[in-house]
Symmetry: C2
Subunit: 326 residues, 2 copies
């Protein structure tokens, strides 16, 4: 009887090893390229073997791990913060871009340019301790709903990408986020949602200052920009935080182009992958002319360099972890 | 027979769990405090339990993990670099602080102040790619010898601290370096020497710039300072790179004071530990009036706050991994 049970156990473990690690992915070229890459770099003694400590995989967040339409999630967070802080700032009624934000005038916001963005970021992301900001971000993400989908933003993550994260980790990869979004906006929830701990989250970062207040140590957020973790800034963020080159990179827009170039410029086997938003029914369809998540140069370069391109409509059986109707 | 073997296996595993994880440590108060702390935070269901993902331990490097006398290792690296670059810079013969460095005049170097340090760092740590600097640092650390001990610098690491790093990792801790030293100077060798991968090394950091040269991506080191990872800068480096507060911190000088304050300001069980250099025979004895590794305010605060203080002479059976005669 014991022998039979032990035998059953062995059979069941073998079956589980053979079961599909990416069940939400159609049997397409993208899936084959992912499985093939992981097979090669983990084949001990093979020509493409990569030791465990060097298996670094980097993921963009907006549009790669979760939805970014109609506007970036953090932009909605900023708008909501301005609205809730407005009673303490009566002067905002006549001051741009605050006035436009309070009126919901998106064109007015766009007109305010870089200095407008800086003013808004300073008002919403600085002048408090890191612990205070953590709580604000955590409270917001736990309650705020997507404007058209009516779901928590953390429900609008991509099921196929969650499977990919788990699959890579099960094969010894360390998974990192490398996002243009704010590092402290993401860190409170990435472990819960993606299984990625704060120390593996890289993002745009503001200045920080250590202070003692009545014998109590605090870290205060400053209104200065230390890293704009987008485009050219992504390889810089990777080098600063990780200190070695990834072997796999996942993005969806021109903001990820340099990260993919940096990752896949190697004679050895690498995986560079773009998520192409082609599904107007289940999600959104957009690329070359979109304001959010513009994918133009990177799409051309993917073709030229043979990077993997995911056609969301045809390559993904499901989009979100639970059934969500747009 | 199989039953006997299985039984032996169980006995041997139990014996190994009971064997001393810190054999180079004397049975002193410091060792008891370390063992007690780890026992508490790993006791599932206990009042002091800390989940695995939150077990973050931060270590200073110079004077905490390896020797820092007579001068910081990286200072010797800078001197050696200036000497080897001098033939390409005939103007250095009349330009301070280069002239003093080339003459070995330490007082002249000291006189050059902050602007002198900045000029020397720019000449030795910038104007090349990160890959090029990696190779320079790796080549130097693999060959340069300590001026009085005649050994590789990486042989002059502290055996008791290597055991402590392993012990913490075996108990689910993630170990990080948080050093005033240059992040890129340490990363090429910390994995080999301490078992700490590059992404868990935090240090003083210069500006970086991503560039494409003939279709080839490069990251260039700039002569600007992004993080001075010393004193107030250490909690900032921790927050920026790790994004949560450590539960254990290890240092040896006033440069580590704020890191220990930040770590141990909590109602829960924490471990803050200072290595006190008290062994003039086997290593060096120095504290309050030393130019390198000055330990003054932090020693007073350790007493006031009940932090652990290691008396190197009496608490450590051995200092270096292999017998080294000073």
């Amino acid at each position: 009887m014991l022998g039979f049970l032990a035998c059953m156990l062995v059979v069941s473990v073998a079956a589980s090893a053979l079961s599909d690690p990416l069940p939400s992915w159609e049997e397409s070229q993208a899936k084959r390229q992912i499985l093939d890459f992981v097979g090669r770099v983990t084949a001990r003694g093979g020509a493409h073997f990569v030791p465990g400590t060097q298996r670094i995989a980097v993921f963009d967040n907006d549009g790669t791990l979760w939805a970014e339409k109609p506007i970036y999630v953090q932009a909605q967070f900023v708008i909501d913060r301005i609205r809730s802080l407005a009673p303490q700032h009566p002067e905002w009624k006549d001051k741009e871009p605050f006035a436009s934000i309070l009126k919901g005038d998106m064109k007015g916001i766009a007109k305010s340019g870089e200095s407008g963005v800086a003013a808004v970021m300073a008002a919403t992301h600085a002048g408090m301790t890191t612990d205070e900001f953590d709580k604000i971000a955590e409270d917001w993400i736990s309650t705020a709903k997507h404007p058209t989908m009516g779901r928590l933003y953390t429900d609008l993550v991509y099921q196929p990408m969650l499977e990919l994260l788990s699959y890579l980790r099960a094969n010894g990869f360390k998974t990192f986020i490398v996002s243009g979004g704010g590092i402290e906006f993401m860190r409170p929830w990435t472990e819960r949602v993606y299984g990625i701990p704060p120390e593996q989250v890289i993002g745009s970062s503001g200045g920080l200052k250590f202070e003692m207040h009545d014998g109590k140590p605090l870290i205060v957020k400053l209104p200065t920009l230390v890293l704009n973790d987008d485009k050219d800034g992504k390889p810089v963020g990777i080098e600063r935080h990780i200190g070695r080159r990834p072997v796999a990179a996942f993005g969806n827009s021109d903001g990820d182009l340099q990260m993919l170039e940096w990752t896949c410029d190697a004679p050895a086997t690498r995986l560079c992958l773009l998520v192409h938003h082609t599904d107007a029914e289940r999600e959104w369809a957009y690329d070359r002319s979109s304001r959010v998540g513009k994918l133009d140069k990177a799409l051309d370069e993917a073709t030229a360099k043979g990077w993997t391109v995911v056609d969301m409509k045809h390559d993904w059986k499901t989009i979100y972890p639970k059934e969500v109707k747009p």
